[in-house]
């Protein structure tokens, strides 16, 4: 069985420092693997634990530096790492990204059984790349998948929406977008890190996957950003420095009463 996991590196925004101008202080902001991608990887690894004969390929698109997230996935137990890295890929929107991912999968892992993605990336949160990828691969899709199981030679998936918990029978090939499950993604062990160090990451350019320049990146994207701006929300509210806690609490109580 062949499983493909699509992952993304994102800036670590959990502990943001602010400048005086209310903008983000970018110094020391590191890249991390998108949190939900850990759950997609863990889902693939659990199926591998169960079914044994499983090859897990991990795919990402990004700068060469994004290689570290593929190494991390291999350290966790995945088998192959494919890095789509080409200046031509830059500026891709979710459609162009999905198209590129669909192409690398059909070129390099055409006999895939399952493609797993994180439900959304914590930086953009469009949640569009996975569904778009399913459509471009022409296979069925389930989103918001909390758990995948294999029993009596059948795959099943549990999907959780705002209102429902749904149980599905799943045939392959299929694309599943994985959300946070009731389990902890595993941490790599020492031998995993050693294996990752010795595993060659396959670097692929636009021409390696037989795509034209105008199909990828900014050119291949049906959307474009016409304007980017910092919103100017000035809400001339009253700001007090807490010097005397008793006085502060008094003010707070009176404001709460006023507002409710």
């Amino acid at each position: 069985m062949k499983i493909v996991v699509c992952v993304k590196q994102i800036p670590d925004t959990t502990d943001i420092k602010w400048t005086e101008n209310h903008t983000i202080n970018r110094e020391g902001v590191e890249s991390v693997l998108n949190p939900l991608d850990f759950y997609a990887l863990e889902t693939a690894l659990q199926l591998k634990d169960k079914l044994r004969d499983v090859e897990i390929s991990v795919v990402t698109m990004g700068p060469l530096q994004a290689e570290f997230i593929l190494k991390r996935a291999i350290a966790m137990g995945c088998d192959r790492g494919l890095l789509l890295s080409d200046r031509k890929f830059a500026g891709a929107d979710t459609f162009a990204t999905a198209k590129t991912l669909a192409k690398v999968i059909t070129e390099k892992i055409p006999d895939f059984d399952m493609v797993l993605c994180g439900q959304f990336a914590a930086d953009g949160d469009t949640a569009q790349t996975g569904p778009s990828l399913a459509k471009q691969l022409g296979v069925s899709l389930l989103t918001y998948v909390k758990a995948v199981d294999f029993q009596d030679s059948k795959f099943s998936a549990t999907r959780e929406t705002e209102t429902n918990i749904e149980k599905y029978e799943v045939l392959t090939p299929v694309v599943l977008c994985i959300t946070q499950g009731d389990y902890e993604p595993r941490r790599p062990l020492i031998d995993g890190f050693i294996r990752a160090k010795n595993t060659n990451i396959e670097r692929l350019s636009c021409s390696d996957i037989k795509m034209c320049d105008d199909e990828v990146g900014l050119k291949g994207s049906p959307t474009y950003v016409s304007r980017a701006f910092t919103p100017n929300i000035e809400h001339a509210g009253e700001i007090c420095i807490n010097e005397d806690t008793e006085d502060t609490v008094r003010k707070l109580v009176s404001k709460i009463k006023e507002y409710v």
Partner: protein, 313 residues
């Protein structure tokens, strides 16, 4: 000039009506404007007067439960037939599954979770959303038609003088016999939905600054008869359920009073509280952007202030 907007009508969700009202505002300067809805097994009790000019509907037993493949096929067929300039869909769990499948098949641009929609000077849909991890707002345009966008419930509220219209209902015949899906629904369990934070009148929210003292946040919420919310940082650390996370990757809320404690106010959080009537913020960092939003702010240590505040309420 003519302009046509198609809106996906979701059963039991206010977002479809919010979008129809917004569409009336967007199209106010077009003499030949049409607002159409598509209702797939959404019931027929929509009424003869709605905010839509036309509603295309289908009721079919095979469509009782949502299926991305079936619903997207029907939507794509209708879009191909009536050729709308713009397609708007609620950014619900259904919409976030459906919209990218439609956009991808039509090879057109889709902007997710917009916080503002406008028509620009070229008559194009200008869809604005937070981007780059919430650092910036971006206005996004689509090169092709239909120009698509999703919007969360309660985010876009228009004060435009909207009108109820005599709605024309048109039945569509779904062409879904050839679909061979690989996912088969076996069982649905309705979640017990306790009144969530979406409808709370008072929300006390804790962030990174009080991550180890969330019990104080809970105590304050209890005193005020409110609900507790948290920022993403707290959920990422495993200290709270994702169901009470507020912001771009969590819930959108519109309480009477929002008290943000130890929350810096990154845009990915504040997009979730744009509907709050009043905001009180307590934060140690005087430069935290939450103070730009707050009606009343205290620069200070929440751990010193909260115990006394809880006592005096």
């Amino acid at each position: 000039m003519s302009k046509k907007i198609l809106i996906y009508i979701e059963k039991q969700n206010s977002v479809s009506e919010e979008l129809a009202k917004k569409a009336q505002e967007l199209l106010q300067n077009f003499d030949d404007a049409e607002i159409a809805g598509i209702a797939i097994n959404a019931g027929l009790d929509l009424g003869s007067k709605t905010y839509f000019d036309k509603i295309y509907y289908v009721n079919d037993s095979r469509l009782e439960n949502y299926s991305g493949e079936y619903y997207s096929k029907i939507s794509i067929d209708l879009i191909t037939e009536i050729n709308p300039d713009i397609v708007l869909i609620g950014a619900t769990s259904l919409g976030r599954d459906l919209a990218p499948q439609i956009a991808s098949a039509l090879q057109t641009g889709l902007t997710a979770d917009c916080t503002a929609l406008d028509i620009n000077e070229d008559g194009k849909l200008a869809a604005t959303r937070p981007t780059f991890g919430g650092k910036l707002m971006a206005t996004i345009l689509s090169k092709n038609n239909p120009q698509m966008a999703t919007v969360r419930p309660h985010v876009i509220v228009t004060d435009f003088d909207v009108q109820l219209k005599d709605t024309e209902y048109i039945e569509i015949k779904p062409q879904i016999d050839d679909i061979k899906t690989h996912v088969k629904l076996l069982e649905t369990i309705k979640k017990e939905i306790s009144a969530g934070i979406e409808d709370a009148e008072i929300i006390v929210a804790g962030g990174h600054g009080v991550k180890d003292n969330l019990d104080l946040v809970y105590q304050l919420a209890e005193k005020l008869n409110g609900k507790v919310g948290v920022s993403r940082a707290v959920v990422d650390l495993g200290l709270a359920e994702a169901s009470i996370q507020i912001g771009q990757t969590g819930k959108t809320v519109s309480p009477k009073l929002y008290i943000a404690i130890g929350i810096s106010g990154a845009m990915q959080h504040t997009v979730g509280i744009m509907g709050a009537k009043k905001i009180i913020a307590i934060n140690k960092d005087k430069d935290a952007p939450i103070f730009k939003l707050a009606d009343f702010g205290i620069v200070g240590d929440a751990l010193e202030i909260l115990p006394q505040l809880i006592k005096s309420l």
